[in-house]
Symmetry: C2
Subunit: 458 residues, 2 copies
């Protein structure tokens, strides 16, 4: 598919250069909106309005929704009021709200002026909710049925109203706006008797979220129950909107991206890598780097205070990077595993003792294996092969013992910090490798010099 897309992209660029607009229209109209949007992302801003006008009305609106905010702004500024109205009329309320949210004030004013009063009310409603809430990603267009309607009446209503609704497949049964039950189109179609009442076939065991539920929670629920949409209700159980599965997929992807960024010691960005400015990349990366560089003052102080030991046994210095590196890696292995398990709800806070016990046993296995290999490696490679005379049996023992203890400590710190972060309502993902590494670095050095003092008397 990607290769096919690259070929189409090449062809389109050539047709644009040759101004073959009729051929272009023929190609574009056979494509899906996300692909057209991807194609337009590579087109010069001056050509964009021209190409966009080649699309038929419905495809134009669907493509518009899929485009990046900067391209959307270019287009809106090139539209006449009539053209803008045509696009806005085709939008779903949640998409319209998202676009309005990204545009500068003067563009927003133009959009709202072209919107119908209902659309304007919906956009305002959605934008009033906090950034990461269910209310902020819901759409207000759904099919509602009354409990006293028959199956036949309901199907008629769907046929009449459906064209403007984001999904018609799940319908919501309400009375005085209170949510009473759910009926799917499958239930309606497969019902053997068209005169049955909705209240007799509706599901009343409803799973709903409130307008303020965190959008990540909403996305996880949609994924857990395999629903097409979840109803969003207010504090009085009055129906205000729905969140559909496609928005849930986007949220899950966003959250995974955020977690990965945090794991790598980067503050999450709203923009894609190539669209992000260098200064924004800098801003998102420098805080962790600064913090961790300054915290490394402690490792420096530990080394300084053991300067005489290092002078007496110069060979010890050579193993500092290996020790710190292995400790850091062991710790981030545990932290990444626990962070992901937490975000998939596979772990709870109360599992802390089980996690600790599991990590201790795993760390003993890993530590023992590493220490054994390390002992043989130092003896054979550093000692015999490279002929380093400073490497005595004592030095070797200090390195391997310190390695074992470091792995144990690193895995315990790595596994428990994310759980503790969760306990104090922090995002566990901030407790990932860069943070763990800093702590483990200091720990491993302390352990190392302690063993050196005990066994070598330095």
């Amino acid at each position: 598919m990607t290769e096919k897309f690259l070929l189409v992209e090449k062809a389109v660029n050539e047709l644009v250069a040759m101004k073959k607009y009729n051929t272009l229209r023929d190609i574009l109209t056979t494509m899906n909106p996300p692909d057209v949007a991807a194609l337009f992302a590579g087109i010069d801003n001056r050509q964009l309005p021209l190409l966009f006008r080649l699309l038929p009305k419905e495809q134009a609106a669907e493509t518009f929704v899929e485009m990046e905010p900067d391209a959307q702004e270019v287009l809106i500024r090139s539209f006449s009021d009539n053209e803008l109205k045509e696009i806005v009329d085709e939008l779903y309320a949640d998409d319209a709200a998202e676009i309005v949210d990204e545009m500068p004030a003067n563009v927003v004013k133009r959009i709202l002026r072209q919107a119908t009063p209902e659309m304007r009310a919906s956009i305002n409603l959605i934008l009033r909710y906090p950034e990461n809430s269910a209310g902020s990603i819901m759409t207000t267009e759904y099919v509602s049925l009354r409990p006293d309607m028959t199956v036949e009446e309901s199907i008629l209503r769907i046929r009449r109203q459906g064209v403007d609704k984001e999904t018609i497949y799940t319908c919501y049964v309400t009375q005085g706006r209170k949510l009473l039950g759910i009926v799917t189109v499958k239930d309606l179609l497969l019902c053997d008797d068209d005169t049955k009442l909705i209240q007799d076939i509706m599901l009343t065991n409803i799973i709903s979220v409130t307008t303020l539920t965190d959008k990540e929670e909403v996305a996880k629920m949609l994924s857990r129950y395999d629903f097409l949409a979840l109803p969003v209700v207010d504090a009085e159980n009055r129906m205000v909107g729905i969140v559909t599965f496609d928005d849930a997929m986007d949220v899950l992807e966003e959250e995974a991206t955020e977690d990965m960024a945090l794991m790598g010691g980067v503050l999450p960005s709203e923009k894609t890598y190539l669209k992000d400015s260098v200064f924004s990349l800098f801003k998102n990366r420098i805080p962790w780097l600064l913090l961790l560089m300054v915290s490394a003052t402690f490792t420096g102080m530990i080394i300084t205070s053991f300067e005489s030991a290092l002078a007496a046994q110069a060979a010890l210095t050579a193993f500092i990077p290996m020790l710190m590196g292995t400790g850091g890696n062991s710790g981030s292995q545990s932290s990444v595993t626990v962070i992901r398990a937490l975000s998939l709800d596979e772990l709870r806070l109360s599992d802390l003792p089980r996690v600790i016990w599991k990590e201790i046993r795993t760390a003993v296995l890993c530590g023992a294996a590493l220490a054994a290999v390390c002992f043989v490696k130092i003896w054979l490679v550093d000692g015999l092969l490279l002929g380093n005379e400073g490497i005595t049996l004592g030095v070797n023992a200090v390195v391997c013992l310190a390695l074992f203890v470091t792995v144990l400590a690193a895995k315990l710190v790595g596994a428990s910090l994310p759980l503790l972060a969760k306990a104090v309502k922090l995002d566990p993902a901030v407790m990932a490798s860069p943070f763990i590494t800093s702590i483990v670095d200091a720990l491993s050095l302390l352990v190392y010099f302690l063993f050196a003092r005990l066994l070598l008397g330095v």
Copy 2:
């Protein structure tokens, strides 16, 4: 919701202890299958069959699908042939195939003996496809229509056949099993004329995948186009099945989990953290640790070869951890960002020059800021505050210059290695922090000692 679930869990456990099975049945029947399965995961294996038999037939089958393989096996072994048949009859082909794939041979034989011939054929078909292919996650139950049917006939057919299909909302128009077009139930319901022919309203611009398309690719396409299902065709464009959005959500989640594991230097596991054995955790973690420990031999050799320099300027040793740590963090920031952008298809191989240019500018900003702060910190804290006499202006300059160059090198290595991995068809995620750190550790030491030699003459 999680808190509510914990309360229900507590109540259920108490009711089980008091053998209040009627009350238990009343509670369980109001719950959704994924919640019942989560509840059963905490129940003792000896109690499990008893509780499971409290569920009505359809809910029992849906709950069964959501359970972990070990619990499924316990249940199957406790079922009579009749009970097993009732469950198997309620399963969709893709779920049945997944269960069969996880069970030991003698359990598989029992399941297949109770399945209908069509179900048996479907299971065998799905299991024949390679592990990560579209064929292996598709279901063979979909609604197919003929091009010469009218809208009315089509709706009738859906009403007759729909009950056994995983989704009825997207119907596939075929002739001699060749896929000709797609019609949604929305199209059918909103059509103003019931006598219209399917071939006149169907979408012919079909997006399909083949049985061998990678399942991650399939999931990304479902998410990109917001489809409920994608048709799976064989090499001759004959329809063989569909992949539905709920399976796509699971695949996306799985792939993100795998990427995160690799980023943390862990081989991905099929099991959840708590279900995974200690030995399996060990097996998935030790390869990277061993590899990286052994590769640290190089950093050791670099330090050994500069032993005399370190002896002459003992203060240099104290900054080794800070330098290596900051280098490692800078590198993993870039690699994690690029890896995620690659897996979201936001970056292509041909973007390598743009990535390099972006990283160089970001690295110069980060490096300059870090070096400046580091210079002031060393001068004030290590020099004036801690009174470390070894820290001369020369040493300070060496550290800060080395820091700047290290950050630059780390960001270039971190950003380009994942792209190069992609170029040679490796998973970019293996080029994440543990791997990058090892390379950057050696680089940073070399740069450090080089500056020491140039500026301090050691």
